[in-house]
């Protein structure tokens, strides 16, 4: 394990940037989001990003192919898949788990080559939480250890020191390039800090949410629960919850008429929108209640039913803090889940 003074973090970022694009939480115009590191930018590791890091693997909009028409022929152009390496730094345990969720979707047969290419280019440096980042955090409910995030490199910030530990080959390669900026350590002070973090997490307000009954076996019971009628009432159908969520993975494929051809692209979609999965037959979900139910049924029932019990919520709390109407997943679990003693 390596460590360095947080005061020297800029040297670390700068070194990483020499060989790869570095994305990390940066504060711009008052908000923290994953952004490209540049000398002098306001790196803000201690706050939750508004958007999740999924953009780096699954951008909000992405060109898929282009059709060019000349005379009577149509030419098809496939965009070049990205090959440039990048480093994603400061990913919290919840977001790190979200990549597993996305992998299940995009890397199962048929593999999504666009996602796969980005995934291969990226090295993930995760950042363990040595206390719950916010009161809305509830990663522990999904069995995620806040202090021990997945990733190619794990990092922790304790006091004025940053600890770095490689977990994969990619991670070792990254650390080899920054070794001279750091010193070796056995990371002894971390153990107690991690335990303290877990204890604090257990006391976080949403840590007592109980997922009892959210599984394939209770699918119809949950689907038909009368509570949905009240739960969805105030929903604006805005899609904020889906756009800030690290695991929401639905997209729409659209054609843009460029005047001399077609640009086919995909963009994030939201099950909260009225045109979601709209087809000629017009059989998509007609009411906001059905749309609202879909989002939470997918995260808490359909996904685990199809993925050996893996939930597609990671408890990051983004939708909890950002829903303008406070109708988030925690409220749904509280209402429809079990009652922990």
């Amino acid at each position: 394990m390596l460590k360095l003074k947080t005061a020297n973090a800029d040297a670390l970022y700068s070194r990483i940037s020499d060989s790869a694009k570095l994305y990390l939480p940066v504060k711009r115009a008052g908000q923290v989001n994953y952004d490209l590191w540049e000398s002098g930018c306001e790196v803000t590791l201690g706050e939750m990003t508004v958007k999740s890091p999924k953009d780096l693997f699954f951008p909000q909009s992405e060109d898929l192919m282009a059709f060019r028409v000349s005379g009577k022929s149509i030419e098809i152009e496939n965009p070049e898949l990205p090959t440039e390496p990048f480093v994603l730094f400061g990913v919290r345990a919840c977001d790190a788990r979200s990549f597993d969720v996305l992998d299940r979707v995009f890397l199962s047969d048929p593999v999504d080559s666009y996602y796969e290419a980005r995934r291969n280019c990226g090295t993930v440096v995760s950042l363990g939480c040595l206390e719950p980042l916010r009161e809305t955090c509830f990663c522990s409910v999904f069995g995620i250890d806040l202090a021990e995030p997945e990733g190619d490199v794990q990092a922790w910030v304790l006091g004025d020191e940053m600890y770095l530990s490689a977990k994969t080959e990619k991670g070792e390669k990254l650390l080899a390039a920054v070794k001279d900026l750091c010193e070796e350590t056995d990371g002894a002070p971390l153990a107690a800090a991690k335990d303290e973090a877990r204890a604090k997490m257990a006391k976080n307000p949403l840590a007592d949410l109980d997922l009892t009954g959210f599984d394939g076996e209770h699918m119809m019971e949950k689907f038909n629960a009368p509570e949905w009628k009240d739960l969805y009432q105030a929903c604006l159908g805005c899609g904020t919850c889906t756009f800030v969520c690290p695991t929401c993975q639905c997209y729409d494929i659209r054609d843009f008429d460029t005047g001399h051809g077609i640009q086919r692209y995909r963009c994030w979609d939201s099950c909260m929108y009225s045109d979601f999965t709209m087809m000629a037959a017009g059989t998509n979900r007609k009411t906001q209640m059905e749309r609202f139910r879909q989002r939470f049924m997918h995260k808490l029932v359909y996904f685990p039913a199809n993925n050996e019990g893996m939930y597609s919520c990671v408890g990051c709390g983004r939708c909890v803090s950002k829903c303008p109407m406070h109708l988030h997943i925690a409220k749904v679990i509280r209402t429809l889940g079990g009652k922990k003693q």
Binding site: N33, Q233, A234, C238, G239, H326, K331
Partner: protein
């Protein structure tokens, strides 16, 4: 506030019990102590109705849908919400005969981070519309503030600085449309940005031009009808000060056509769809753009 709140709840229960109204549109508690969610209440769940300093959400837009229900709905309406509601009535979006408006006194609303921006710049404690009002002296104090100060600061910048300011703000936009969906002036059944034949997808975050256009077009669409209720800025997940765009429009209209508050008078025609002899000449308007 406590005393007013208690009276409000008691009165709502009374009107419901007497059958004068069939349901109540108010707020209920959420997971965290500062969370309040708009909700409909009937006999069975009326005990969950709350009114306190966290009831910031403007309920007027919900009445577009709720006033179509059978029977009367009691709506709890704060002074600023009453402007939005009156504007909606003016546009025939809410069925007046199906609502009972209970004006509720307010001492400024809070969210997780303290006093709401809209309350910092409270436009007054009068009710533009109500069937009945419950408030007291303490609910009529209006804070001293200048809502156009930030607009003037922007006006004093060079065009390049101003552009840089708006780019830095608007580049954060995730196109979630929360600002539009919460806006009581945005009640089109199908928004122009949701037209699948328009060639652009509102949810796609493609280029900066589209990002700017969305907000500029929206500001134009609500100009003259925007009451400056501040909901757009309150709900934006990226903290974009959208109200500054609207206030710029309001300030310009005030300057060119005389002071006007949307929603104050349900019979009024707003300056952009009205003509008076005192209106500024088009040339004056044109010159300002240069």
């Amino acid at each position: 506030m406590q005393a007013v709140a208690e009276k409000v709840i008691a009165r709502a229960k009374e009107l419901l019990a007497s059958g004068e109204v069939q349901r109540v549109l108010g707020w209920e508690k959420g997971e965290f102590d500062y969370e309040r969610t708009p909700a409909l209440f009937e006999q069975g769940n009326i005990d969950k109705l709350v009114y306190d300093k966290f009831c910031a959400a403007n309920l007027s837009k919900k009445l577009v849908e709720v006033s179509k229900l059978e029977g009367k709905t009691l709506a709890l309406i704060k002074p600023c919400d009453s402007l939005s509601l009156n504007q909606l009535l003016c546009e025939h979006r809410v069925k007046r005969e199906n609502i009972y408006v209970l004006g509720v006194g307010c001492k400024g609303m809070e969210g997780k981070d303290g006093l709401c921006m809209k309350c910092e710049f409270c436009k007054g404690k009068n009710f533009a519309i109500s069937d009945e009002v419950i408030d007291d002296e303490s609910c009529r104090e209006v804070p001293q503030s200048d809502r156009f100060a930030a607009v003037r600061e922007l006006e004093e910048k060079t065009p390049e600085e101003r552009y840089a300011f708006w780019r830095s703000e608007l580049s954060k936009c995730i196109r979630c449309n929360a600002c539009r969906n919460v806006c009581p002036a945005c009640t089109c059944i199908k928004c122009v940005f949701d037209n699948p034949d328009s060639g652009v997808a509102a949810k796609a975050n493609v280029d900066t031009f589209e990002e700017n256009q969305f907000h500029i077009i929206r500001a134009f669409h609500v100009a003259g009808r925007c009451t400056d209720c501040g909901e757009c800025s309150r709900v934006c997940p990226q903290g974009i000060p959208l109200h500054l765009l609207n206030r710029k429009f309001i300030k310009d209209m005030d300057t060119l056509y005389g002071d006007y508050q949307a929603g104050e008078d349900a019979e009024a025609r707003h300056p952009l769809i009205n003509f008076t002899k005192a209106d500024a000449e088009p040339s004056v308007v044109l010159n300002r753009g240069e």
